[in-house]
Amino acid sequence: MMKSDGGDIFLSVRNLTVEYVTKQETVQAVNSVSFDLHKGKTLGLVGETGAGKTTIAGAILGVLPVPPAVTRGGEILLDGEDLMRLDEATMCKVRGKRVTVIFQDPMTALNPVMTIGRQIAEVIELHDAVSRKEARVRAERMLEMVGIPAARYDEYPNQFSGGMRQRVVIAVALACNPELLLADEPTTALDVTIQAQVLDLIRELNSAKKTSMILITHDMGVVMEMCDDVAVIYAGEIIETGTLENIFEHPAHPYTIGLFGSIPKINGDSERLSPIAGLPPNPADLPKGCKFHPRCPQAAEACKSGEIPVREISAGHFCKCRGKAGEA
């Protein structure tokens, strides 16, 4: 769908389609999504709850629950290698080593009956073929790195606060120096003061090791802080993508514009926010044509059917819209 200008593309997702199939219904979670991630850069995947962001991360890592998840097609090229074609054993070597993930909810992401140190050491032992003793030393170093005293290695998750647990999750994700880090709403479950700390931590550790990252969030503030490129997702489709500047300075798609309209501005003229009218569509029964047309203020008759073309508005800035926004 969206072509890139080539260069050092590290991760390339092509036409990824994922459905959740149950006896009652088929939920189209991700619909033919394509995007590229450059080496060492951070891509923000932005969208509402249920837009399919987490499913994309799960698909890249191959950890979606099967059933009900069914991957209908597409390619996930990591450094040119299609992850979807790898067998389970090879994929196990990719997970936790080359591609790692920071989960959304630190309260549930850690095994409650295993010491936090062991949970970090486990992944080091698994991928770097070191002795248990050495894994412990390295895990202790990771703990210190994320700001937890190594002396707490033998404590259990219930002895830590949410922010501390998220640091442990980050330590697990970074323990084997991944090439690609998927951060799935890493700060959503944390309170605001801790959010800033955790984001700083991720950014520091990332820039030190030149890790590429996909940051999944619905928080535009976090996107502005962290990302180089942004992809806006609506109902399982990428509707607009571009550089951070493209999206923030020249949002084109009515949905993206609506997103910014619903964020409070400190120097804004209007007292009231302008939320996007209506609700996201039921992913088990998506509208025809443009998925956004029932809520779109600029919807025309042409938007209600057919495939919506993707247009390049400016270099590297793509928008999937038939209306004025799509016109160059």
């Binding site: 950890v63 997970r95 989960f103 409650p112 486990e122 698994l126 697990v172």
Partner: protein, 316 residues
Amino acid sequence: MVRYILKRLLLMLPVILGVIIVVFTLLYISPGDAASIILGTSYTAESAARIRETLGLNQPYLVQLGKYIFNLFRFDFGDSWVSGVSVSSELITRLPRTLLIGSLSIVITAVFGILLGVTAAVNQNKWQDSLCMVLALLGTSLPGFFFALLLALVFAFTLQWLPPYGMGGPEYYILPVVANALGGVAMLARQTRSSMLEVIHSDFIVMAKAKGLRRRDIIYRHMLPNALIPVLTTIGMQFAGVLGGSIIIETVFALPGVGYYLVTGCNNRDYNVVMACTIIISVAFSLVMLLVDLLMAMVDPRIKIQFSEVKHGRGK
């Protein structure tokens, strides 16, 4: 930890005392005359009165109870009214057999119950799951004595592989243990399956997968330790079931253990025997429950921390 164990052991005393008082009182008020049982056909009013006098049965209720409890401290349960043999010496030979059957049954229950439950859970809605659950349904619905009779019929009488009843070498234990374990295996398999399924969709299992762990390691290192917590409680309850079940199983296989002794005692209105067996079984059960609680603390750090905080003086 040691302090906790001591505290729990001390707390067991009132429980056991309560059991003694309840059992003693029930038997005290229930009909039946020791003298007539002891004398049998040679019953006369004078000799009956003499026996009541020597046994102290004419004394007030509280005095009798007090004497009984006092004797218990010397492990003296009195004599069997029927055989005249000391109940404690009978128990010493019989108790190990019942405990052996009980422990073996529990081991079998735990191993097969957990194995079946895990197999069913990780293959949810596949044929392995259906097979395990049909077996579990059969196991819970078949009464223990019926299964025991079935086993005896097939393996002892038809195939003649194993002795049908009595006491002797290890082969005499096989059928009773298997029969005794069946209900437990079935129930534990169901419990394990459901608590595994609860864990299977946890975030930390997805995380374990995202770490690149193989399926096997995820199941045995991450899922099972978490699923075991409710399973352990069930195993403890099963032990009670197994002790109770030994009454039926020992009767079916004519195996001279505590359970069989209890049944014989009941039939003969041999109250000293009934009382002694009931007390022994409840003490054994209390000890097992304590053991289960301690095991829980080993498995679940959220429980363990309550003890260690006392030790380190941390928290409250």
